[in-house]
Subunit: 209 residues, 2 copies
């Protein structure tokens, strides 16, 4: 059995506590997007039972909508990513100074609801969260880039929180690579716990928990 399958089977023991995301950045013509959705959402067909998948919006409506057809599942659409190349196309702007990532938010948010869609917004672009919250005040934002990529949790929280939290902060490499020694498990746990405490402090200060 592949280790991904082992991990996902193990996590089913904690399905009420753990939200699983297939960070696959899929997006294709309708038929194919539907099959990608089946491959991560439909346990009977594929063996996988993820809660969410990340979706690349370049091909538009018929490439995104199939991921919204699975009750209880989420499509997390790439809006403004945390990598360097995000400037190349995501900041491309029209005559009204609407940038592509804003166009993506405006259009795609009409295809689903804040109960089946989220958006990827890199923590390295935290200052843009203010603009983003004007377009999608209610949606959850998945925020990678805190930790190894240098994003700052306080700034993300300042501009990104809404009245039901609305932020899903992700750290990967800072936890995965917390240590390359035999103390890996402890060091990774410490790093994860430290981030969780920081977030808890912020949420308590805003009376969100």
């Amino acid at each position: 059995m592949l280790s991904l399958e082992k991990t996902m089977n193990y996590l089913e023991n904690f399905s009420n506590e753990v939200f699983t995301i297939a960070d696959a950045k899929r997006g294709d013509i309708g038929n194919t997007s539907t099959q990608y959705a089946v491959s991560v959402f439909d346990k009977a067909a594929s063996g996988f039972n993820f809660d969410a998948i990340t979706v690349a919006p370049y091909m538009g409506e018929d490439s995104v909508k199939p991921f919204l057809a699975f009750p209880g599942k989420w499509a997390i659409v790439l809006a403004l990513t945390s990598n360097k190349g995000s400037d190349d196309f995501q900041l491309f702007a029209d005559i009204n100074e609407t940038r592509l990532f804003e166009r993506v938010l405006e259009r795609t948010s009409k295809w689903g609801t804040s109960d089946n869609m989220m958006y990827v917004v890199g923590a390295t672009k935290a200052e843009m969260l203010e603009d983003i919250r004007k377009i999608v005040p209610d949606h959850f934002l998945l925020v990678p880039g805190v930790g190894a990529q240098g994003g700052d949790l306080q700034t993300v929280a300042k501009y990104g929180l809404n009245d039901h939290c609305g932020l899903l902060i992700n750290a990967s490499r800072s936890i995965l690579f917390a240590s390359d020694g035999t103390d890996f498990a402890e060091k990774a746990a410490l790093e994860a716990h430290s981030m969780q405490k920081d977030m808890e402090t912020i949420l308590l200060s805003k009376e969100l928990i």
Copy 2:
């Protein structure tokens, strides 16, 4: 063994004649794009030895370039796709009326060469091939949408051919679903052969073969 692996192993007997494309529409941060490239190009690591992969450009330079690092292999970047939703973002235009797909052509063509990059341009947008050829006169264009999706081969050839052909025309469903009876193999072969003859006639008339 998966049927895809069987098919690819069989096709290795014809590797001088058959060009294989993993139509996977990948694109992710650099580390991940590199691993996607390995998964289709590096036979020793993955079992697959495709000639090319389709790439979604939304995440920009560091998401595309890893696919260009494999000698003899091709990245086929989505520019203007043939599906209905292609209008949603690909036609988004800046103050100079440059559309996103043109921006993608302009930028990405600087990251590679006409010997390791191609572009997806749907046959259903054949009239735009004239504009596209102004930006990428030398690149091969992979043109889906002829056949089931209604694109016209003559129009595609008129606007898309360059002096070394420069067109890779793809028909999928019109061949795959040529018949659902026991005569499937014959009907699919006839359909494929018919398209090949049409293309040959065009190339002969232009003295390209």
